[in-house]
Structure formats: structure tokens, C-alpha cells
Amino acid sequence: MSENATSLVKQRGPASGSGSGSGPLLEVTGLAKYFPINMGFLFKRHVGDVRAVDGIDFSVGRGETLGLVGESGCGKSTTGRLVTRLLEPTAGKIVYAGQDITHASRRALAPIRSEIQMIFQDPYASLNPRQTVGDIIANPMVVNGIKPPGGVEHRVRELLETVGLNPEHYNRFPHEFSGGQRQRIGVARALGMEPKLIVADEPVSALDVSIQAQVVNLLQDLQRELNIAFLFIAHDLAIVRHFSQRIAVMYLGRIVEVGDRDSIYRRPRHPYTHALLSAVPEAVVDEEGEGRERIRLAGDVPSPVNPPSGCRFRTRCWKAQDKCAAETPPLVRIEGNREGHLTACHFPEEPTVAARDEDVVLDPALAAIEEATDTH
């Protein structure tokens, strides 16, 4: 696979398109997206908002991967769609390669559209069943006026080979492929645009475990060879860790912690990051008891229509105090954090496992049953 990618890099023309300077490829500040809730017949009254994304800041460097993790409904996918401008932001600013694209018009966006590509979660829904694989990959090139040397068809066959498919399958339809192969077609379609940034929204979560690794490796090879930046959205913390240099943890429309891989996974400071990490079941059988601390939150994520005041995690947090309800903690570098590791918490956790308490069980049912079985 990597050989193919190398061959591809040779044929790729000189870096084209917009952008200059050495700043981050993508910079997002105060980005927000509210979906209005309307009620009533004829005269739609605006009764509230789903605050899917509520003021987030992050940046993605050239050739870098930023992983975005969080539970369902935390706004990860909305963020991805805002960045690709599939959704119109409510507030905030998106700067791509030095150019403000927050509210750029269709015309102004046209040259940038090809540089920011997306890979979707569901490989069954994201490919048109009536088009051949060749058409699916070729159409975006035709639409965007990309004229590769040797013709479009030649290029499509090359791309199919790059992603590990047989170029002779050019005339086949999506239903003739398995899930993993379809996801490769989606990757080939994105690559045809010679993108600089790929927003990958749960690219492997619909695939079988043995196939997941194939696609992850493919994306990693391509990134290395072509220096593509990724915004990698996923809920699988182990995959995100494997793929991303930096990781942002989202909760209810906000980023609660961001930092490099080691900071987030080895020295997390936000209680939510802790809870998330301790909840991951690992394919390791402990020799003696539990190896990692165990944190069991109570209940589910609150509704983004009416999020808690102050720190949004406070309703499920075991360290919450009055201050958490009154003041929104800023996303800053708190004491003890390394460079670039930002945490939004008033009462951050100790960075090392030894300094923390062992188990936190907030779930009432679990606590009750465990207490009952302990006394027996």
C-alpha cells in the first residue's frame, strides 16, 4: 500500500491552490452552531436552540492529525460539518490557510472546496448506488475542473490502486463491494481532489474489527506520503490515540481538554477525560485485579437544548462545587500542564494515577448492588 502511495506522490503536481505562510492550516475560534427549535403551525415561533457546538477553539497544523473525541451528541460531527462548510456557523471564525471562510460565498469557496475533503462514516450511504465506482471517483474531478495528466480515467485507476483496490473494478457498482472496500472508494474519491485537509467523520466505526485496521493503516500511509492534515472524528479512544498527534475532548458542545497524545492519555487533568479513559474496555485480562482506576458516571449526557450553567460536566462530576455552576471554566494551560495542553476545569485532577483516588462509582444502581454484595 505504501509503495502505491509513493508512486502517487511522484505524479502529484506541484502544490496548487490557495494559502501561504507558515501558520496553522486551519484555525477555528469561538465556533458555534445553534439549531433553532420552532413550534407552531403557520407562524413558527422560535422557542429554543439545540446548542450543538457552543464556542470552540482549535487549530490543525499542516500534515497534522487532530483527533476529536466525545460521546454521541457532543457536537463532534457538527464541528466536522462546519469546518467543511456544509453547515453555516452561527458564530465564530474559521480561517483556512490564512483565509477567512466563515461566511464565504459559494463562489469564494469553490477553489477551497476541493482542498477540504470529507470521508463519511457509513460507506453504504455515502456512495451513489446508481453510479459506477469510476464515475463516483471521477465526477468530483470533472466538477472541480481538475485535469490530471493522462486523463481522468487513468487517474481514477491510479487512485483505485493507491487505496488497495483492483483498477479493473472501474466499472463496477458499489453494491459489489464489501464495507471495507467501499470505505476505500470513499477515500479514493477524497484523494482525487488532492486535498490538504480531510475531515474523517468516524471513518472506521461501521467496519468489522479486522477491516478497521486495514483502513486505519491506509489513511496513515496516505497521510505520511501526501502530507495531508486530518480532523479525525471518532468515539473509539484507542483508534484516535493510534491515529492522532493531538486530541481534543468534547463534551456537550465544548472542548474540555486538548493536548498532545501523551498529555491526554497519560496525564489527563479534566475529570471527564478520566471518566472516558477509564470506561474503555481493553482487550487485556488483568493478572491481579484491576489495573486501571474505575470511574462510573451516573446517567447520560444532559440535553444540549438546556445545558447546565457554568461547567457543563458538573452535573455528572464528582468534584463539582458551587463555583462550577457559577463560572464557566476557561480552556487554559493550568498549573502542571505541559506546553499546548489546555484544560477547562476549576478543580483539575492530579496528573498521575498514584496521586488519585482509586474508584469513583456514581451510578446509584451499581453502588447499591455492590454495597449489598460486599456485605454478604
Partner: protein
């Protein structure tokens, strides 16, 4: 291998007294394209109070096996052969009436998609109370009280109010809890959980898995957990069965299968998932190719087209002869590699990848 199989008794092939015993199960579906051999000669046993984890990719026959145990296949297009003994009672040829008496009372199921598995027309409380009324002859009022108690036990806040809610008023995690309450309302001896947490977030998944485990300790039920997530298996199961193309390719205790796996497919599964502490510089090792079609499974070992170790087997029998699980042993794998070869490959090639 022999040293490993000497450990204490568990669900093996030998004892006839085990609580659930499945012998040479075949489930074939007649389709337009031919016969789909969804389960093709499967045997396993399960004791009371223990948990069996079944792992495998989609289409490996995990769910089909368990639907056969519950007798939920459509008899018009399904051919089921073999023996399923639940507490000494034969289930394969059982009448619908007999099954009706067992389902919900003696065996119950927790489904993956709680929104699809709960009826949107009835309140959660009524759906929990219904099997209880049916099997115990309780009155409406008693059943309602029981439903409230069950909801409390699975951790639904304000159960006396939420009992009258409809499923759409519950969140995903709460619906899954309600399903668990529904499955456990008659204190069944066998609970089958088919991907019980796949649709849930990790924090909620951890709650649900802990809850199942705690409830099992309380009630002593036998649990079958079906999943594709090896992490879930490692956390919950006592014994593991790895399925591929409708057959069991490896079985043993969780420790044996996770720490000393013997089958190339299990090796592949373990080395294709990253861990929270694995090295990020080494690429993942995927299993090449894709799972086979069950309409025409490959001859010989069904895994041989994707296996990287066929050249170590003399005479190329992987493509011609189907390897069998060692008869009568609790621990074993269906592979033509010799025990020493498996040991050597695992220690030299597979184990370093898992660190």
C-alpha cells in the same frame, strides 16, 4: 496446550449435566441464491452463574446461534439440526407452546438496538410487566410494582414516575437498562445479550456492563454475551468462543484465549485493534481480505484464504481438509498447525505485537 487444558472444569464438551448444552448445531437458511450455512456444526456448554463470550465478525453466526437457542427462527426457511439442551430439556424440536413457556421465564434476551426492540406503543412499565404477568399469573397491580422495583434495580431515577413513560422518552442508556429490566423480570436462568452495548457511548457502556455483571452475581444467571469487541469480552466473560464462518475456531477461558491465543484468526483479531497503551509508531496488523461468503464457504479451513501460516502446514491440507476442534476438551482451536508451531508463532511473532 495440554498444560493449559488441565485447569478447573468449565463449559467443555464432555459433561452432559451442564445447564445449557449445544451439540452439533446446524442452522441453514434457504435463499434464492442457495443455502446459507450460517451455523455449521457448533457445540458448546454453559454452566449456571458463568458468562460465555462469543466473538466474531459480522456474519460469523453469533446471533444466529442464539436465536436458534431461543427458537426465534422462521421455520419456513430455516433448517435447524442438532441438539440444544437447556437444563435437560430439548429445544430444537420443541413446540411453540413449550418455547413460549420458557421464553421470558427461563431464558431471556437483551437486544442490541433498544429503540427497535421496545414497542413504541406501550409504556416501558407495561412492557416489563407483561412477561411477569404471563409467567407468574400476577395481577396488574403486582406486576406494576414489580416493574417499578426492576427499574429501580437497574438504576433508573424516579422509577415510580418513569414506569409510565414511553420508550422514546428514555435516553439510549436508559432504554438499554429498561431492556435489562425486562429480561430479568422473571429471574431467568439464561440471559443472552446480543451486542448489548454496541450502540452506546463508552461511559454508558461501562455502566451497563458493570450492571450486568453485578446482577449476575446477585441472581446466579448464566449469561451469553455476543460481541465483536474483544475489550467487552475481556471485561465480562469467563469463557470465550471465537467464531468464524459459522464455526467455533477457538475456545477456552478468557485468560487462555486473550493471553495464549492459538488460532491465527484470534491472533489477527488481537493484533488488529490498538490499545490505550500500545506503541503508536508500529502500524496495526490487519487481517488481509474479507470474511467469506456463507453461500459457498472456501473448502478446507474456512480461514485459509486469509491465513498467513498455511505454508507451515505440510501437504497444503488447509485448502482441502477442515480442521476440527479437539473433541472433549474445553480448551482448543480448530487449526492444522501443531501445538508446538502455534506456541512458537505466538511467542515469536504475535506476542511482541501486542505489547
Amino acid at each position: 496446550m495440554s498444560t493449559l487444558s488441565q485447569t478447573a472444569a468449565g463449559p467443555g464438551t464432555a459433561p452432559a449435566s451442564s445447564f445449557l448444552s449445544v451439540r452439533d448445531l446446524y442452522v441453514h437458511f434457504a435463499t434464492e441464491d442457495g443455502t446459507v450455512k450460517a451455523v455449521d456444526g457448533l457445540s458448546f456448554d454453559l454452566e449456571r452463574g458463568s458468562t460465555l463470550g462469543i466473538v466474531g465478525e459480522s456474519g460469523s453466526g453469533k446471533s444466529v446461534t442464539n436465536l436458534a437457542v431461543l427458537g426465534l427462527h422462521n421455520p419456513l426457511n430455516t433448517a435447524i439440526q442438532g441438539e440444544i439442551l437447556l437444563d435437560g430439556q430439548e429445544l430444537t424440536g420443541a413446540s411453540e407452546r413449550q418455547l413460549n413457556r420458557l421464553r421470558g421465564k427461563k431464558m431471556a434476551m437483551i437486544f442490541q438496538d433498544s429503540l427497535a426492540a421496545l414497542s413504541p406503543f406501550y409504556t416501558v412499565g407495561r412492557q416489563i410487566a407483561e412477561p411477569f404477568m404471563k409467567h407468574t399469573g400476577a395481577t396488574r397491580r403486582e406486576a406494576r410494582a414489580r416493574a417499578v422495583e426492576m427499574l429501580r434495580r437497574v438504576g433508573i431515577p424516579q422509577p415510580d414516575l418513569r414506569v409510565d413513560d414511553y420508550p422514546h422518552q428514555f435516553s439510549g442508556g436508559m432504554r438499554q437498562r429498561a431492556m435489562i429490566a425486562m429480561a430479568l423480570v422473571c429471574d431467568p436462568d439464561l440471559v443472552i445479550a446480543d451486542e448489548p452495548t454496541t450502540a452506546l457511548d463508552v461511559t454508558v457502556q461501562a455502566q451497563i456492563l458493570d450492571l450486568l455483571k453485578d446482577l449476575q452475581q446477585e441472581t446466579g444467571a448464566a449469561i451469553i454475551i455476543i460481541t465483536h469487541d474483544l475489550g467487552v469480552i475481556a471485561k465480562t466473560a469467563d469463557h470465550v468462543m471465537v467464531m468464524y464462518a459459522g464455526r467455533c475456531v477457538e475456545r477456552g477461558t478468557v485468560k487462555e484465549v486473550m493471553q495464549r491465543p492459538q488460532h491465527p484468526y484470534t491472533w489477527g483479531l488481537l493484533s488488529s485493534v490498538p490499545r490505550l497503551d500500545s506503541s503508536v509508531d508500529t502500524p496495526l496488523v490487519p487481517i488481509p481480505g474479507a470474511p467469506p461468503s456463507l453461500l459457498s464457504p472456501p473448502p478446507g479451513c474456512p480461514f485459509h484464504p486469509r491465513c498467513g501460516f498455511t505454508d507451515q502446514v505440510a501437504g497444503g491440507i488447509c485448502a482441502t481438509a477442515r480442521p476440527e476442534l479437539p473433541e472433549g476438551e474445553r480448551r482448543g482451536s480448530a487449526c492444522h498447525l501443531t501445538a508446538t508451531q502455534k506456541e512458537a508463532v505466538f511467542i515469536e511473532q504475535i506476542h511482541p505485537r501486542l505489547r
